[in-house]
């Protein structure tokens, strides 16, 4: 009897110590990055006594499920992590908590300015930036011994390796995000800026001459240079690279965890700009951050876990688990010697941040359609496609308001 009472006493004691609320986290991380998050959750549980539930949700479903579920109390307390292009719409929908009141000036000044900008919408901070990413040219040193730093070197290597059994260069040719760099090198942009620095969604820069030239270049990758055949999507390109059948791929740091697991010797360079382009190739820079549900029952615990995840030490260990680039200045400093991090950092330095206004949601679809139409035929009318692209985006933004 005494034993039972004793046990009960201890259970009650531990119960009061550890039952300090529960925080639910949605994440799109997979593989090594998911393991990293789960172990981070465990150490947070030990340190704070707050239970953390990690729930995997597909990347493309998070925004919808969150917007519809959060006000009904069906959302998580945190999402780890979201890129800034999804953040704007969610902030306007009212489901994200502005975090200015939870963070210090010291914390903000320890971050790369581009990361703070990415998560600032309407003058408010809506997420704690955790990692930055952009696409860059990742090459397998077993097939490509010399870094393809110039366009000529890139083209020669890619053509030599495109044999039928192996490929020189592949990337998801229909995906808007991966192709933006080619628009940018021809002078394209997504939205212009107003005089006060805010985004002007009526100034669209993906069409016109820049759009036509970019689409022609993307077409040339298939029809002129014979590099990227029809039917290559992300899974195909990624799989071929993992199997060692592909020399160079345009991909982002999220894929590095798997590539490391496949024991590939990697090099990373910005995509070499071909001669004749009006400026250097530069990718979209995405910043991923932890966001907090405005309808969370326990915002303090949620914010504490968010802070725990974005410390410089966490960012370094997150980079080692997966490969995404930290956004804390001191974490970047610590990883200075890593050539892969350096490669991506130089690509990010060439890039431009993805817009975070809700209107960006209306850009991806028309852009993917334009890419599909341009690539479908060798004689596709890129002038018409580029002008359709602009009018489709305009139509989407105007919508039915």
């Amino acid at each position: 009897m005494r034993k039972v009472l004793f046990t009960l006493f201890f259970v009650a004691l531990f119960g009061t110590v550890f039952a300090q609320g529960t925080v639910t986290v949605w994440t799109h991380f997979q593989g090594p990055e998911l393991q990293w998050l789960q172990s981070a959750a465990q150490s947070f549980e030990k340190a704070s006594g707050t239970t953390v539930n990690v729930v995997s949700v597909p990347f493309n479903d998070i925004k919808q499920k969150f917007i519809l579920g959060a006000p009904q109390g069906k959302g998580p307390d945190l999402v780890v992590t979201l890129p800034q292009d999804q953040m704007g719409e969610m902030a306007v929908a009212g489901v994200l908590e502005p975090l200015d009141k939870y963070v210090t000036q010291n914390y903000l000044s320890g971050l790369e300015p581009v990361a703070v900008d990415a998560f600032t919408y309407g003058g408010k901070l809506f997420g704690m930036p955790m990692s930055a990413e952009s696409v860059a040219l990742i090459y397998n040193k077993a097939l490509v011994p010399n870094p393809p730093k110039t366009w000529d070197a890139f083209l020669a290597t890619a053509k030599k390796l495109t044999t039928g059994d192996t490929f020189g260069f592949l990337y998801p040719e229909n995906d808007a995000y991966f192709n933006f760099g080619f628009f940018r090198m021809e002078g394209g942009y997504v939205f212009g800026k107003n005089a006060d620095g805010s985004t002007n969604t009526s100034d669209l820069g993906l069409g016109g001459e820049a759009g036509v030239k970019a689409l022609d270049f993307i077409k040339a990758l298939r029809y002129t240079y014979g590099l990227v055949p029809d039917g290559v999507d992300y899974g195909v390109a990624d799989g071929a690279f993992k199997d060692g059948a592909l020399g160079m791929i345009l991909n982002g740091p999220w894929a590095l965890g798997d590539y490391k697991k496949a024991n590939l010797d990697l090099g990373v360079e910005p995509f070499p700009t071909p001669p004749g382009a009006s400026r250097q190739w530069g990718p979209f820079v995405g910043v991923q951050g932890v966001v907090v549900n405005a309808y969370s029952q326990d915002k303090v615990a949620a914010v504490n876990f968010a802070k725990f995840l974005v410390t410089p030490e966490s960012q370094v260990s997150f980079n080692q688990a997966g490969g995404r680039i930290p956004v804390s200045k001191s974490a970047v400093e610590q990883l200075k010697g890593d050539p892969v991090v350096q490669g991506f950092s130089s690509a990010i330095a060439l890039g431009t941040p993805m817009p975070n206004v809700p209107a960006i949601g209306k850009v991806w679809g028309p852009m993917a359609d334009a890419l599909k139409l341009a690539e479908a035929k060798q004689d596709s009318d890129t002038t018409q496609i580029a002008s359709d692209l602009v009018s489709q985006i305009q139509k989407g933004i105007a919508g039915t308001q």
Binding site: Q64, I67, G88, E89, G122, V236, G399, Q401
Partner: protein, 453 residues
């Protein structure tokens, strides 16, 4: 047993009595729940259903004493309630949403990007540190705009009545606002969603030539083509497998049904990989035969053909099973007498098998058409990133999209940007089209005519 009161009046009387019984049960159930909740405040709300159910039982007994004929209706009551809750209610909701601008941006919630710290000045003024109009993104004037005022966990809606250079006045002050301050007071503009008339439908019709019409045409072709092909193949295989001279026919039956038995969520995605132009097994096999690689899934016409062929693979076992079922009801004597009369096997097939199978087959074909008309799984999962684009078309309506996948992408995918109102409008169009097609089908085939005879 009392007789049911006759005619339309009787029907109305019965419906009124039933509604009264259920209505009273709801009232009593809610009261009961509320009473229990005062004692147990943590009670989950879904227990309301239990209390209503408890109240419904005595109600039904009482009403039956007064109207004895109601007992017939009690058999229908559970099904009717389910129909109301899970079919009629969503349809009504969709109809309502189709005439609003409901979307991620217009969500009826405070836009947190406009959140501004304010101080309250009696009697009804919110004092800002800057110009409230850009801070709340009201445009030229904030008057009439809905805002949400909140401090800590207390929040309330209010309407703006007037404005000054750094202040707004509220029409009515929520009770908690003037209370002694124990935290910062915030105000944010509500991103109102409201009635916009037929604008959603006008948008759909303005894109009729590049979205609505091609999508609808392909939808009909896809559904009809799938039904015809699967029916033909199912019929042929069924007749062959029904022949008792065929050895191992049970084995064939089992083997041929596999494509139906596997979950199509998996098999459809498998077909996506098999049909990949460069790396798919289908093109590799065709390549061995010397056929140049076919752009399955990337060129409009091939993608459509590929989808119909995949649907044939998915759908023929159902038709084959239906055929076998129908054939087993045809007595063997008919064939024997046909043989004695000197009929050829083809004549026997045309004269006996086809007419007898047809009666069993008509409802199956209709069901299959209705199913394929809204075959979202196949269309969406085989090309999750969207099919080949239509020149000048909408990003949500690619050339292989059918109406239902168009509606889904509009409301729930990035291309559509959470346009729930517009998605509802498309869904409403689907509803009208499906009802129309079903009526035509029933009329032509006379599927429901027997009862009237």
């Amino acid at each position: 047993m009392t007789r049911h009161p006759p005619g339309f009046r009787g029907l109305l009387l019965a419906l009124a009595a039933l509604t009264a019984a259920v209505g009273l049960a709801v009232v009593i159930g809610v009261l009961l729940f509320w009473l229990v909740r005062t004692r147990l405040p943590d009670l989950p709300t879904y227990l309301l259903l239990v209390t209503i159910g408890l109240a419904l039982l005595p109600m039904l007994v009482l009403f039956r004493r007064r109207f004895p004929f109601l007992s017939d209706w009690y058999y229908l009551l559970p099904a009717t309630l389910f129909l109301l809750a899970f079919t009629v209610y969503p349809i009504v909701l969709t109809m309502g949403l189709a005439f609003t601008n409901f979307s991620g941006k217009n969500y009826g919630r405070p836009d947190r990007a406009t959140e501004t710290a304010v101080t309250f000045v009696a009697p009804a003024t919110l004092r800002f540190t800057t110009d409230p109009r850009p801070a709340l993104r009201c445009g030229d004037s904030c008057v009439g705009a809905q805002v949400e005022v909140y401090r800590g966990n207390e929040r309330a809606r209010a309407t703006i009545a007037g404005e000054g250079p750094t202040a707004l006045t509220l029409e009515r002050v929520p009770a908690f606002v003037p209370a002694p301050e124990d935290g910062q007071l915030y105000v944010a503009k509500v991103n109102n969603y409201h009635f916009i008339g037929v604008k959603n439908f006008a948008f759909i019709l303005s894109n009729a030539s590049t979205a609505l019409w091609p999508v609808f045409r392909w939808n009909v072709v896809f559904a009809a083509g799938s039904v015809i092909l699967t029916a033909l193949m199912g019929l042929i295989l069924g007749v062959v497998l029904n022949d008792s001279r065929l050895r191992f026919r049970n084995f064939y039956r089992t083997a041929l049904i596999i494509s139906w038995a596997l979950p199509n969520i998996i098999t459809i995605q498998m077909w996506n990989a098999l049909l990949n132009q460069q790396f798919g097994a289908v093109n590799r096999l065709l390549g061995l035969l010397g056929i140049y690689s076919i752009p399955w899934l990337t060129q409009t016409d091939w993608a459509k053909l590929g989808i119909v062929l995949v649907n044939l693979w998915l759908g023929f076992p159902f038709m084959m099973t239906a055929t076998l079922g129908a054939l087993s009801t045809i007595p063997n004597e008919l064939y024997e007498s046909a043989q004695i009369d000197g009929a050829s096997p083809w004549q026997a097939f045309r004269g006996i098998t086809l007419p007898l199978v047809r009666t069993a087959f008509t409802p199956v074909l209709l069901t299959s058409f209705a199913f394929n008309f809204n075959n979202f799984n196949l269309i969406y999962l085989i090309l999750p990133q969207g099919g080949p684009a239509i020149p000048g078309g909408l990003a949500t309506a690619n050339s292989t999209d059918i109406l239902i996948s168009w509606a889904y992408k509009t409301a729930f995918r990035a291309e559509g940007g959470s346009a729930y109102g517009l998605g509802s409008a498309i869904a409403l169009i689907i509803f009208v089209v499906t009802v129309g097609i079903s009526l035509i089908n029933f009329n032509i085939t006379g599927a429901f005519r027997e009862e009237r005879r």
